[in-house]
Amino acid sequence: MRMPPFTLHTPENLAQALSLASEMDNFDWVAGGTDLLPNYKWHLNPKPNVISLAKVQELTALSSTVIGAMVRVHDLANSEEIHPLIRETAATIASVMIRRSATVGGNICLDTRCYWFNQTEEWRRSIDWCHKCDCDTGADCRVVPNQNTLCVATYQADLAAAFIALDATIHLASGDGTRSMPFADFFQLDGMTRNVLKLGELVTHVTLPEDSVNWEGGYQKLRLRETWDFPEAGVAAAWKIEDGKIAALRVASTGCESIPGDHSELAEGAIGEWNGKQSIRDLAEGVRKAVKPVSNTYFPPAYRRKMLRVLTRRALSPLEHL
């Protein structure tokens, strides 16, 4: 298993990194490398240039409301200041070894995954390639054949669901300046487009609302093994209790489609006439209906959808008696 040759650039600070990026038209950012390097070894869309952010100090901020893109997932999971929902979610990612290297930004920008895509070059040659890495053959999608416009690869990162549930804001920077947006707006269909990042742009940090400390929440993840495995489905829920009543409720899902799902409108609608278990059941059913996984990961899509219902119920179980 050999990586194709590439030039590695190691800028010392953010300005250098951004100016380097603006000079190149074909490159990848690398942070922890736990996603990019395996993909490179499998020759999945490798680029001739790779810019490493390892030395960029500006991206490592870590406080209760600001989380830098280069913060290691392990540090996030073990930092007392961080919101418990984020900590809980981070602790479920991959394995200890991978968390030590993987970063928050890398997790947010995780490449979408697919059984027909995450394979070696020889394997993909035997299926005549696929839409997401067509090696200039114009190959069709192998999951949903006979449509050549959309990639249905699945976004299987955990943190996004928790960030959406906590109504976080994501901050980007490029040579042209910076911009910010609600976390859910960062993602963009399809499995190849993935998000709104333009060429030369990167995620700098994520901020949480000031009152996020008053929010509680939970994260539920579907995966076969309690380590290594990517989420086959994930549900994060966050809520604020005021005077014994639910004042706000947000729900997000991940691991089922090409982008994470924000179900907060559904959740907001439910709190008006909250009725404990029944409301949770209805809400869970709503989440199941809102998400349509395809057959390109370990578990079959029908099962993943059904499990979304169970995961949502379990994430919301502390609200059963309200």
Binding site: R2, Y115, W123, S126, I127, L224, R225, Y298, Y303, V310
Partner: protein, 934 residues
């Protein structure tokens, strides 16, 4: 322990005379000065010397023929493996660690098609590249090979057809890996794609292009590679049985998942000899394969087994890439190394067969198992590999541990366009054993009998014969069941746990060494040979061909020699790696190594010991009959002060006879029936095991977590309890993978979807339950010091134990493996719909109410326990064959005693009438030679 040897242990004190005179019974002896890392002789450890020869070790099952060779050195003691320091310090050289000066890197071009004709191969562009030394194709390797002499169907590289995605087409070697890959991609191949077969049932049909052509032995025009039929016993009685459970099992294909991918280095030395370094379980078969493929005599080849990073059956075939390395090395004149990527490991495969097994278990109104009926269709993939044997093992290995009224087995193995299946830990027995044990559980439920009691009341006794003629010598099955029952708290928990919590039991039965050496007649050559040599340093070098694949065979053989010669382990040196220096050995498969090699080693060590004792006789003047061989010291039995050190005796022996060498061999005794296939499953001894597993089932998601497992295994005698426990715990992990998560998934167009360790789900440490390993010692009369196997048998029972525990937890009978959450969830949903329940949390849980048979079986089990004990200690030496429980006389042929008793290996049309039976369809074809086509 005090330094030095002390006469009459326990009587001496710290008092030591300073005047040089000795006091009888209280004497410390000085340094014997005969090697070992500790210069002092140790006291004989009587805790480990059997009662029969004056020690303190209890022998509930009576004396053993090897008792008088026991010196209390290492046997029965937990000792770390002799090569463990090499491994933990990173100095063990595995296949990929071999580096030769000037070596080239080889790469293999593989087929992108499932099934295709090769029209042409153009290698000119690759050959013209700088840094490329040689390119080879099928034309360089026209000779066939295969692990079994009867089914040689492989070539180093494809001849005219490729048979699965990943099949070898051509290979190149170049100065470095990047160049080799580039050259590999520069080879252009024209294919004509043929319609491929992926479903094993399609393999039963006639095909225009059968995957292999076996000439006049070809079965119809189908892809049936092997078919087996065996019918024994009272089949009419079985059909009339009031209790029966029939299930149609589907089990997925598995890979061994060993840590080390295949790697090989080949080099032709200046004297024209080939050396191949490879992590092989069976170096001798590779030796033969290389000779056939390269067309050179075996004496020109040296197969060098490196450390093996896990085998489990997956490194026991001679492999095409090993041939490729040798061919490239010959062409290029330089050493060539080929390392596999993980994906290539899945393409060469040889893992567990995907199977469809129809299993019927029948019981009569006296609570006896009136029959087991099996129809097993197994998917062999593109090559035969060990499949001939697997086809038998799927049936014949469930003729024990229970006494059965009838045995009706039809099996078939087909070729499909998938990576080849082969031998994997628990070879062929695992899937069908799971089906049998679940059937037993279901039948006892119908009878309202505790499944534990049902099993205990139907066991074959020691020194008996199975229905198809296997000779059972020792069995610890009863003790295994009793121990797991007691330790797990079975009687309180069974059918008493709340929804989602369950407990289940399963048993296992496995061969301890295949009785038939597949390449030769056992009358002519032994199964195993061990040579010893002892030189002036007093240490003993052991030459054996037993392949240590991590299971600890080097340690076991060293222990056997160390025990007989009473030498510490560090004075025993094992040379087992090279075919140049090792005697021919069949290798590490069929759990044969401890049984056969240790027996050979004991024989060799006894011969060496006798030579040294003779020398000691001449020095001391005492006959060997009254000499005791202790730790590096040989002394007079009645006055230990009179003796001679090991080294002195060795020197004397050398002076007398010249070189001090010895040799021992093992061959199995004559045994087994005479029907076709009687040798399949035949072994000099069998291991038995019983597990109880406790599970948590999440009824909303279908997740199963094994919380605890009690694992009792009868290994005859634990030569090294540490190693046996390691095997038991490791087997639990491996079996847990098969029952809950591991499978080779094939996509809708036949591609293997998960050829990597992220998606091929081997369970992690988080899923690993607490395993309580329980060693049961049945003291096998022919095993070395009583030992039997512990490497494969312990894997079998964990599967049915978990399946039965799932039933106990939620009332659903499993018939599909692995029980992944999505599959189980589907079953739960179906079950809920059937019962009209909306919420799975309201599912009813099975409960137990003892029926009238329960007490009867409890009493029968009790009387059988007494019967077994008398046979164990050989007080009862009457003959016993399967059938005595049903009232047969063991000394007369069964067929004379009962009309309609069958012993048949050829099916009649009636036997094949049921259209639902799959393997039976394989018998609808006529072999070409019988049709007169050839």
């Amino acid at each position: 322990m005090a330094k030095g040897y002390r006469q009459a242990p326990g009587k001496g004190g710290s008092k030591k005379r300073t005047d040089g005179k000795r006091v009888a019974g209280q004497q410390d002896f000085g340094v014997p000065g005969s090697g070992g890392s500790d210069p002092y002789s140790k006291l004989q450890d009587l805790d480990y010397v059997p009662e029969s020869v004056g020690g303190w070790k209890k022998q509930p099952r009576g004396p053993h023929v090897h008792d008088r060779h026991v010196t209390g050195m290492t046997i029965g003691k937990p000792v770390p493996l002799v090569d463990s320091n090499w491994k933990i310090t990173g100095q063990a050289h595995y296949g990929d660690d071999i580096r030769l000066p000037g070596e080239l890197i080889g790469k293999i071009l593989r087929s992108p098609h499932h099934y295709a004709k090769i029209l042409s191969i153009d290698t000119s562009a690759a050959e013209a590249m700088d840094g490329v030394f040689a390119v080879a194709t099928g034309q360089d390797s026209v000779n066939k090979f295969g692990v079994l002499p009867v089914t040689k169907d492989e070539h180093a590289m494809a001849q005219e057809k490729v048979r699965h995605v990943g099949d070898l087409v051509a290979c190149v070697c170049a100065i470095d890996e990047a160049t080799a890959i580039e050259a590999m991609n520069a080879i252009s191949v024209d294919y004509e794609v043929l319609p491929s077969i992926h479903d094993m049932e399609d393999g039963l049909k006639d095909s225009e292009n059968p995957i292999h052509d076996r000439g006049k032995y070809h079965i119809g025009e189908s892809n049936v590679q092997k078919r087996v039929f065996q019918q024994f016993g009272d089949l009419e009685g079985m059909k009339d049985a009031p209790f029966h459970h029939e299930a149609d099992w589907e089990t997925a294909g598995l890979h061994h998942g060993f840590t080390e991918p295949h790697a090989v280095v080949a080099h032709w030395d200046p004297s024209g000899r080939l050396t191949v370094w490879t992590p092989q379980q069976v170096p001798h078969y590779l030796h033969r394969g290389l000779s056939a493929v390269l067309d050179i005599p075996m004496h020109q080849i040296n197969v060098h087994r490196t450390f093996v990073g896990g085998g489990f059956g997956g490194k026991s075939d001679p492999f095409p890439h090993e041939m490729c390395a040798a061919i490239l090395a010959r062409k290029s004149g330089r050493p060539v190394r080929i390392n596999f990527d993980r994906e290539e490991v899945y393409w060469i495969n040889r893992g567990r067969h995907p199977s469809r097994i129809q299993m019927g278990v029948f019981a009569d109104d006296e609570g006896r198992i009136s029959g087991i009926e099996t129809d097993a269709l197994i998917d062999g993939g593109a090559f035969a590999s060990f499949g001939h044997v697997t086809t038998y093992y799927n049936g014949v290995l469930h003729t024990a541990p229970y006494e059965i009224g009838a045995f009706n087995y039809t099996g078939a193995r087909v070729w499909t366009n998938k990576p080849a299946s082969g031998a994997m830990r628990g070879h062929g027995a695992v899937n069908s054993r799971c089906a049998v044990e679940v059937g037993i559980d279901a039948v006892s439920e119908q009878m309202k009998v505790d499944p534990m009691t049902f099993r205990l009341a139907n066991l074959l006794p020691p020194h008996s014969r199975t229905i198809t003629g296997f000779r059972v010598t020792s069995t610890g099955m009863r003790e295994c069941l009793a121990k797991v029952r007691e330790q797990s708290g079975w009687d309180e928990k069974f059918r008493n746990l709340p929804l989602g919590k369950g407990i289940g039991v399963g048993c296992g039965f496995f061969i301890s060494g295949s009785g038939l050496p597949i390449h030769w007649d056992p009358e002519n050559f032994p199964h195993a040979t061990v040579h010893l040599q002892c030189d002036m340093d007093g240490g003993v070098t052991v030459h054996t061909g037993a392949a240590d694949i991590g299971q600890g065979s080097d340690t076991a053989v060293a222990q056997a020699v160390s025990e007989v010669l009473a030498l510490p382990l560090d004075m025993i040196r094992i040379r087992s790696k090279e075919s140049d220096t090792a005697p021919v050995d069949l290798g590490s498969y069929s759990s044969r190594v401890t049984f056969m090699n240790c027996n050979a080693a004991i024989k060799a060590a006894c011969e060496l010991r006798d030579k040294v004792l003779k020398a000691a006789w001449e020095i001391t003047g005492y006959n060997p009959d009254v000499l005791v061989i202790g730790d590096r010291r040989i002394y007079y039995k009645h006055d230990p002060a009179i003796g001679v050190s090991w080294l002195e005796a060795v020197h004397k022996a050398q002076a007398d006879v010249g070189s001090l060498i010895a040799s021992g061999a093992y061959r199995t005794p004559p045994m087994g029936g005479i029907h076709k296939g009687a040798a399949a499953g035949l072994a000099p001894a069998y291991s038995f095991s019983a597990y109880v597993a406790e599970v948590d089932v999440d009824v909303e998601t279908g997740f199963v977590k094994i919380t605890k497992a009690w694992a009792a295994h009868d290994c005859g005698k634990a030569l090294n309890p540490l190693a046996v426990k390691g095997q038991i715990i490791g087997s639990c992990h491996m079996g847990m993978g098969q029952v809950l998560s591991e499978e080779m998934k094939y996509g809708r167009n036949g591609h293997l979807m998960n050829p990597d360790l992220l998606d091929y789900k081997i369970m992690s440490v988080h899923e690993m339950p607490d395993v309580v390993p329980i060693i049961v010692e049945s003291n096998d009369p022919e095993g070395p010091f009583g030992a039997k196997e512990a490497g494969e048998g312990p894997l079998l029972p964990i599967l049915p134990a978990v399946c039965n525990a799932i039933y106990d937890a939620i009332g659903i009978r499993i018939d599909e493996l692995p029980v992944t959450p999505d599959r189980l969830h589907k079953r739960i949903e179906k079950h809920c719909r059937k019962l009209g329940i909306d919420d799975p949390l309201e599912l009813p849980v099975p409960r137990f109410e003892a029926g009238p048979l329960q007490q009867k079986l409890v009493e029968r089990a009790k009387s059988h326990a007494k019967r077994d004990h008398l046979r164990d200690i050989q007080e009862d030496r009457s003959s016993y064959v399967n059938g005595v429980l049903f009232g047969f006389d063991p000394d007369k042929p069964m067929s004379e005693q009962k009309e309609g008793w069958r012993e048949s290996v050829i099916p009649t049309p009636e036997d094949l009438a049921d259209p639902k039976k799959r393997a039976a369809r394989a018998w609808s074809h006529v072999e070409r030679r019988h049709r007169g086509d050839a």
